[in-house]
Each structure stands twice: as structure tokens, then as C-alpha cells.
């Protein structure tokens, strides 16, 4: 590294208002993780209430104060915590935290670009995200408490400020925070799409791109198409709340008073919300699937099986995700014929999903698998993608859904297929690209323990929920102790809560490993996983512009692992051939 410093950027522009994609990536990661830890603590607290309803806890008393008289969580605060947990996890951790971190880090590095198309928009994207995070956290502290209508904020609960305490200022701040969040997400997506389309290095054709990049690309496209619709829905809600319009309201009585709203429909909100809400599942999931594809291929030392099928299935998932929103609304009095249409489109998603799972398994099959924590979490993702996806077939069917709608069956389903899969993908990504993020290695042993604690406890939390749901236990209730028919199911709730506490402690291992390794971990070598993709050709320490001198040219796809010639010898002498290596004599490019 040259010791010659041309113009030292001062602290403010290097670490705070940075336009460098690598720094912005770290900002997204750390902000996302802080939000994620807050969201996790919330869930642990309300699991205490669900496992041991009405009992007094020292920790609840200390953390929640006036929200929990004598250490017992107040019912309205329970609703606020559930709402904020969902909002924070879905949007702040798994949308901005996941996509923001890895799209920013990997897009320029893996396609061979100096930076994003617009570093300035990229910086704005982070700071809008930061601002929305701060507003969302402030909303916890206002009188009446945070938004309490669930993360889906259905009207009329969310549309009438006088409805419940959490419908007041907390709800207003929620909406403001989300509007800013959407702006952040759109600015980010714009940049990702244009960078991928226009700034690829020489030789990097679309079909030589790593699958991570394909995943981030399609995620950004879904974001651009669906987030504006959530913004339009949120604006209508703001107008209903504050300016006396009736988009979502009609014929409402509250406290014996007739309200003067006519002509609106609360179902309208559900249509608009789920037009974003379902694609949002894939905004969360696709980056994780892309990360997994890359890691599984690299760590099993085999080319990804069915590269084009992987791209095709992601395209199919991205397209189908925009025409299935009605499956969230089977019980709204929807025309049964329309329900059947949505059932059909929903079940179609099983096909590309199955293609992906098949390709993951065939890539792993007979591979020379190196079990790093990233590999483990990637395989964990394949597991949760299957076990959570299978219950999706039940919920996607309009006739079957009615029986388990709004029960713990749904909670179990989406936490496994979306929550766990996405967070496993995110953990896998952090373990795998930590050397690229911080120039140091994480501790493998701690990482492996973290994985096993996490996957065992995660299944321990969410798998039993299916049985609660099948027995009819409704979700979002403060307690079910008033219903004698659920009395014999209480032990399941205790078990779930114990696993929830254990998984929370398990994450401390990760936190310790992350912080310690970032500061004191062993220095990372140039290419720690012997990977083919371009990001490992950049210097270990971060430099402006990513490469000294020219940007490398690309001559092959990124999955030439264990490529052998006719005699069974490794071509090039090693079990990997970086993308920058020109084709050898007598070598043909893989027909992928």
C-alpha cells in the first residue's frame, strides 16, 4: 500500500457522510444490527408474557418501567411491542440491513466498478434510513406508546387516532418513519439497478455475473415497483387520520359516536398494503438466496448447479410475487373465484422455489464441502426454506387457509420461511464477507457454535407454533389464559419462550465474535475462501476506487470450481479459476 497520502479526507466525510459504497455498506450493517437487536429484545420480552402470563419479571420491570406495573407487561404495551418487533425486523433489519449491506458491498466489487452510479444518492439513501430508524425508535417513547395496530397497520385501528392509545402520535410517527424509509429504499434501488446495468467491467456479461448480483438486481426491481404503492397507501392513511378524508373509512361508530366518514373501504388498504407486502417477502428473501448460492458453490468447491435455471427461477419468483397479494385476504369476503385465481398464482411459486432447492442440494451433492459458519448458515437457509415453504402450500390454498387464518400457524410459517431464511442468509453473508468488510477474520469455532445454538433454538421456537395454530390459538393475543380450551396447550408456550430466551443469549456469541474480530481478529489473507469472484482481487484494506490501476477484465463465469481436463487434472493446477484468468489452451468456456 502506498504511504503517499494525496488528500486525507477528514473524519466527517470518511466515516459519516461517506459516498464510498464500502463504508455505506458498513453503516447499513451496523445500523441494521442495532435495530435487529432491539427487535429481538422486544420479542424476548413479550415471549416472557406469553409463556408466563401475568407473572412479574424483574427484567420487564427494569426495561419497560411504567409500561409494566410491578413487572407485568400492560396489554396495550404488549401490542405496541409486537407491532414494533414486526416493523423493525421486516423493514429495518431484513430489508435495509440485509439488502443495504450486501448490495452496497458486493455490487461494485463483484461487477468490477469503482463505486455506485451515484455515490451521493447512495449516501442519501443511508441517511434517510438512519433518520427513519431514529424516528421509529423515538415513537416508542411518546405518550400513548408506539404504533399498536400490528406491522400491517390495518385501518380503522390505524386510521382513527382516538381508537386506542397506540393509534395516536405513535402511529403518526410510524407513518412518517416509513415514508422516509421508502424514500431511502427507492434511492438505494435506483442506484443498484443502474450500476449493474451500466458499470460492469469488460467481459462481465449478464450471464457471467455472480448469482448474488442477479439477486440484488431483481430485489431492487421489485422494490422500485412495489414500495411506491406502499407510499401511496400510507399517504391515504395520513390523509384519513389528519385531514378528514374517508379513503379507508365508512359508517364508523366509536364510543357511541357516529363519525362523519363515508364512502371508503378498509379493504382498499389491504389491497394496497399487500401489493407491497407480498413482494416485500421476496425483497427480504432474494438477497439471502443469492448470498447462499454464492457461498454454497464456493464452499462445496463445485460449480453452481443450473446457473441459468437459478436466474430463471429468481425471475419467475420476482414476477409471481406481484400477482399473489390476494392470498393474504382470503377471509375478507373475497369472491371465491378470485380466491381460486390467487391460490393458483400462489401455488405456482412452489415451482421456481423447488428448482432453487433442488439446485442447492445438487450443488452440495458430492462436493468437497468446507464447513465454515457461512456454509452452515447457508445450509440452514435451505432447511428453513423447505420447512417454511411447505406450510406455505397450506396457507396459499384459499380453502385450507380459512381454518388457520390469523393463528400461530401463520406466525410459525412466515417466521421460518421469511424471517429465519433471511437472517440465516444475512449471517452467512457476514461470516463469508467479513474479511472484505473489516479486513479481518471471524472466529470459526464460535461461529459454528452460534449456528447450532441458533438453528436448534429457532426450530424450537417456531416449529411448535404450527401445532398451536392448528389447535386454533389466535395470534397477537396478550394472553390466552381466559380461554379454557387452550389450557392444555400452555406448556407449549412455556417451551417456546424458553427457546426464545436461549436463542437471544445465543446471539451474544455472534455479537462478541463480530466486535472482537472487527477489532482484534487475525488479518485476512487476500482470498480466504479461494473464491473466483472479483471482490477478492481488491486490496484487503479499503481504498477509494477499489482497485489500484486498471479494473480487471473478466474472462469466465464465477463458478469454475474443481474444473478438470480430460485426464482428470485440475485445469490451472488448483480447484478454482478466478474470473480474471483467461481461458487456458484447449479449455472451453463452461456452457452454463
Amino acid at each position: 500500500m502506498s504511504t503517499h497520502h494525496h488528500h486525507d479526507q477528514d473524519f466527517l466525510f470518511k466515516y459519516v457522510f461517506s459516498t464510498d459504497h464500502k463504508m455505506i455498506s458498513k453503516q447499513f450493517l451496523i445500523t441494521g444490527f442495532i435495530m435487529g437487536f432491539i427487535g429481538m429484545i422486544m420479542s424476548t420480552l413479550f415471549r416472557l408474557q406469553l409463556g408466563w402470563p401475568g407473572e412479574s419479571f424483574w427484567i420487564i420491570d427494569k426495561l419497560l418501567g411504567s409500561w409494566a406495573e410491578n413487572g407485568v407487561m400492560a396489554p396495550d404495551k404488549y401490542l405496541a411491542l409486537v407491532t414494533m418487533h414486526g416493523t423493525i425486523m421486516v423493514f429495518f433489519l431484513l430489508t435495509a440491513g440485509l439488502s443495504g449491506t450486501f448490495s452496497n458491498l458486493l455490487i461494485p466489487l463483484q461487477i468490477g466498478a469503482r463505486d455506485m452510479a451515484s455515490g451521493f444518492l447512495n449516501m442519501l439513501s443511508y441517511w434517510f434510513f438512519f433518520l427513519s430508524s431514529v424516528i421509529m425508535l423515538i415513537s416508542l417513547g411518546v405518550e400513548g406508546g408506539a404504533a399498536s395496530a400490528g406491522w400491517t397497520i390495518y385501518p380503522p385501528l390505524s386510521a382513527l387516532p382516538q381508537a386506542i392509545p397506540g393509534s395516536g402520535l405513535g402511529m403518526t410517527l410510524w407513518l412518517i418513519s416509513m415514508a422516509i424509509f421508502i424514500v431511502s429504499s427507492l434511492l438505494g434501488s435506483l442506484n443498484y439497478i443502474v450500476t449493474i446495468l451500466n458499470l460492469r467491467t469488460k467481459g462481465m456479461s449478464m450471464t457471467r455475473m455472480p448469482l448474488t448480483i442477479w439477486a440484488f438486481f431483481l430485489t431492487a426491481i421489485i422494490g422500485v415497483v412495489s414500495f411506491p404503492v406502499l407510499l401511496s397507501a400510507a399517504l391515504l392513511l395520513i390523509f384519513d387520520r389528519s385531514f378528514g378524508t374517508s379513503f379507508y373509512l365508512s359508517d364508523i361508530y366509536i364510543g357511541g359516536q357516529v363519525l362523519e366518514h363515508t364512502g371508503g373501504s378498509p379493504i382498499l388498504f389491504e389491497h394496497l398494503f399487500w401489493f407491497l407486502g407480498h413482494p416485500e417477502v421476496y425483497i427480504v428473501l432474494l438477497p439471502a438466496l443469492g448470498i447462499t448460492s454464492e457461498i454454497i458453490s464456493t464452499m462445496s468447491r463445485k460449480p453452481i448447479f443450473g446457473y441459468r435455471a437459478m436466474i430463471g427461477s429468481m425471475l419467475a419468483i420476482a414476477f409471481l410475487s406481484t400477482i399473489v397479494w390476494g392470498h393474504h385476504m382470503f377471509v375478507t369476503g373475497m369472491n371465491p373465484f378470485l380466491g381460486a385465481v390467487f391460490t393458483f398464482t400462489t401455488l405456482l411459486i412452489a415451482i421456481p422455489s423447488a428448482v432453487k432447492v433442488f439446485n442447492y442440494l445438487t450443488t452440495l451433492w458430492k462436493g468437497n464441502i468446507k464447513f465454515s459458519p457461512a456454509t452452515l448458515f447457508s445450509i440452514g437457509l435451505v432447511s428453513t426454506f423447505i420447512s417454511g415453504g411447505l406450510t406455505g402450500l397450506i396457507l396459499g390454498d384459499s380453502a385450507l387457509d380459512i381454518n388457520v387464518h390469523d393463528t400461530y400457524f401463520v406466525v410459525g410459517h412466515f417466521h421460518i420461511v421469511m424471517g429465519l431464511s433471511a437472517i440465516f442468509g444475512m449471517f452467512a453473508g457476514v461470516y463469508h464477507w467479513f474479511p472484505k468488510l473489516f479486513g479481518r477474520m471471524m472466529n470459526n469455532r464460535l461461529g459454528s457454535i452460534h449456528f447450532w445454538v441458533t438453528i436448534v433454538c429457532a426450530y424450537g421456537v417456531f416449529f411448535p407454533m404450527h401445532f398451536l395454530g392448528l389447535a386454533g390459538v389466535p395470534r397477537r393475543y396478550y394472553t390466552n389464559s381466559e380461554f379454557p380450551l387452550f389450557d392444555n396447550l400452555m406448556d407449549i408456550n412455556v417451551l417456546i419462550s424458553m427457546f426464545a430466551i436461549a436463542i437471544a443469549f445465543g446471539q451474544l456469541l455472534f455479537l462478541y465474535n463480530f466486535v472482537y474480530s472487527a477489532l482484534r481478529g487475525p488479518k485476512a489473507p487476500q482470498n480466504p475462501w479461494e473464491s473466483n469472484s472479483l471482490e477478492w482481487t481488491t486490496p484487503v484494506e479499503h481504498i477509494h476506487g477499489n482497485w489500484y490501476g486498471d479494473i480487471p477484465e473478466v474472462h469466465r463465469w464465477p463458478y469454475d470450481y474443481s474444473k478438470v481436463d480430460k485426464n482428470g487434472e485440475y485445469i490451472g493446477g488448483k480447484d478454482f479459476i478466478p474470473q480474471t484468468t483467461p481461458l487456458f489452451e484447449n479449455e472451453t468456456e463452461e456452457a452454463h
Binding site: 500500500m1 502506498s2 503517499h4 497520502h5 494525496h6 488528500h7 486525507d8 479526507q9 470518511k14 469503482r114 452510479a117 451515484s118 444518492l121 427507492l186 434501488s189 435506483l190 442506484n191 439497478i193 443502474v194 450500476t195 446495468l197 451500466n198 458499470l199 422500485v224 415497483v225 412495489s226 414500495f227 411506491p228 404503492v229 407510499l231 401511496s232 397507501a233 399517504l235 391515504l236 390523509f239 385531514f243 378528514g244 378524508t245 374517508s246 379513503f247 362523519e260 363515508t262 364512502g263 371508503g264 373501504s265 379493504i267 382498499l268 389491497h271 394496497l272 401489493f275 479499503h542 481504498i543 477509494h544 476506487g545 482497485w547 489500484y548 490501476g549 486498471d550 479494473i551
Partner: protein, 198 residues
Amino acid sequence: MTTITLQDNILSKDEIRKKTAKPLLWIGIVSIVMFFGGWTSAVIVSKGASSNWLNINLPISFTISTIIIILSSLSFHYGLIAIKNNKTSQLKWSVIITLLLGLGFVLSQYLGWKELYQNGVFATGSKSTSASSFIYLITVFHVLHLLAGIISLIIVGSKSFLEKYSSQNTLGVELSVIYWHFLGGLWIYLFLFLKYIA
């Protein structure tokens, strides 16, 4: 932080801007389309769910606005062709005329809202319905997007008076023209939608 010398084969900042500015704008336009698409679909859903949907006659001003915005698109496009042939003074005239037509559109929209109000069509309050609120909301938010277009016209106008454009350097004009045409097309869609479907 170490800086590096850029080699010949590497895009300069200016080249990156040339390559990416238009795609950035187009994708931004897609998101605006989805935003208004959300609202016009919302109108259809609300209309379907409502038993007493109010059919509102659009004021004549909205028709006049439509003519004005089509003319403004033509005048701005004329300016783009002019600058591509290095005729800088014609660009200046084109921008001034387009700006006046743009402001005329805003005025005409305002007269339209006034007429609606006088006919008892209200945006909010107990006498409003979601049908009447939607008309105001959609048209007002279109004008808000148009204000961004007017700001871009003012920028392009000032730069053309500072002789910043030539047949070799038309990117700023092109971006502004694309956005302006889009606003025109968006208005025609919204106008026809409100007139025949809402």
C-alpha cells in the same frame, strides 16, 4: 486514505454521469408510475366497493390544462432539437415558452380546483366522499411532481443563458425533456382516467 491515479481505460466521473443519468431517471419514472398506479387502482377498488359512488363532472379547466401541457411538451421538444443543431438562442426561447406554459398549466389546474369547490366537490370534511377526495389528491400530487419539472426548467433555462449547452453537451436538456414529456403523458392518463373511469 490513499488515492489512485485513474487509468485511460477507466470511466471518468463525467462519463459515468453520461452513462447512468438517463437510466436513473427512467427507473425513477417507473417508481412514480407505480405511485400513481397505486392510487388509480385504489379508485377502481373503492368504486367497486361503494354502493353510492359519486360521479363527478370534471371542470372545463382540466381540458384546457391538457391542451396546455401538450403544447408545452411540443415547445420543449423543439428546444431539444434546436440545441442538437447548436441553435442556442432557439433553446432559450423554447425554455421560456415551456416555462410559461408550465405555469399556465398550474394556474389552469388551480381554476379547476376552484370550480370543483364551488360545485360542492370537497377534498376533506364531512361533505367529502372518497370519490371527491381522490380527484383533489391525484391532481394535486401531479402538480407537486410538475413543480420538480419547473425547477428543472429553471435550471436548464439559467444554464442555457450561461451558454453551457451545445450540440456536444445536451444531457441536461435531454433529462429535463424526458421528465417533462413524462409529466405530460402522466397527466393525459390521469385526465382520461378521472373523466371516463372514476
